[in-house]
Symmetry: C2
Subunit: 179 residues, 2 copies
DNA sequence: CTGTCTATGTAGCGGTTGCTACAAAAGTGC
DNA sequence: GCACTTTTGTAGCAACCGCTACATAGACAG
């Protein structure tokens, strides 16, 4: 069976979404993709560019998932907008993404080559998605989207470390969720 | 020279703050602490409990750093409060903490044993610190602190992935920073 | 059919991983 | 001084790491 990067990447992405980036070493990756470590190096040259390309691919998948989650019409209020994006984030299919996301953020913060670009791309995508969701009559859709974005990302982080209550009460106090 | 856990932990923490948790393996850790991998296992039993105790120690250091950064008097407004905590986060000495922080968040999200507890503890500490900083006349100090907290954490995350502009504009649009 | 280029398998290299077996030194209590 | 416990050094194990050398199989061009 003839395998190329393009056939490999989705399988690699699936494995990484399940097991994380931290312990992603060539032999398990290869096994999950139906090849050998030998062939991964053959196709990608070395592990670093493999990971870089893989992160790019995952960012594209994420973009597609956001589009698929996009309901036809805009939200009526900022509160509804916040609820929608939080609902997207709590879908089971998104959980694997979220767990992987913090790996990517950690890599980006430490300056590991491909990570920052992939993370930036995913955040840009989410920001655009959010802007399209903003209420039509919002006085400042661009700023409002960025404000929501900041609060949502904080909520996700606090939730990741067991402070979902703190985040929820914060959103309530800030008027971003209906009481 | 006789070394115990208590003398070891600060040196281990220094090494981890500089090089991250991801690549923290016994031999480099031991070298940085002036011992051997053999002795690390002797003192801590295995790597997992070493990391767990180390994370607890780092959380305590973080707590102390926050206290040291605490100015005597409270802030006058929520905006000033936000500016203060963002200023603390941008201190050079805090950068290493921040980079390490995302490692911890990633571990917590994936469910690695000691990570979630340490992360929770550090966030609880920061929340208490923030509550003490809230303006005296604030109508809802508890809720306001949680709201600020959520926005601040979102800002830190966006900054980590190269979206500091997005975060800044968001805080401005949300009235959390003076324009 | 033959040469050439691409795709793949097998084996292995030098290095690192967490951890252990064994022994010796260094206290410590009597 | 002697038994005993705590602390430490040396060596090594089996597993894994990224990566490479070498051989081979197949596709395709002439």
């Amino acid at each position: 069976m003839k395998l190329s990067r393009d056939t490999l990447l989705p399988r690699l992405a699936a494995h990484v979404l399940e097991h994380g980036l931290g312990g992603a070493s060539l032999r398990p990756l290869a096994k999950a993709a139906g090849t050998s470590d030998r062939m991964l190096i053959y196709h990608f040259g070395n592990k670093e560019t493999l990971i870089t390309e893989l992160l790019g691919h995952i960012a594209a998948i994420y973009s597609g998932a956001l589009d698929a989650a996009l309901g036809g019409e805009r939200a009526k209020t900022r509160q509804e907008c916040a609820e929608r994006i939080l609902a997207v984030g709590s879908q089971p299919a998104m959980q694997a993404f979220l767990v992987l996301w913090w790996d990517i953020v950690a890599g980006a913060a430490r300056g590991v080559p491909g990570y920052r670009a992939a993370a930036r791309q995913m955040m840009t995508q989410q920001l655009e998605w959010l802007e399209r969701q903003m209420p039509e009559d919002d006085p400042d859709p661009a700023g409002g989207a960025r404000f929501l974005m900041t609060a949502i990302e904080g909520t996700l982080m606090l939730s990741a470390v067991g402070h979902e209550d703190t985040a929820r009460e914060g959103l309530l106090a800030g008027g971003l969720l209906p009481s």
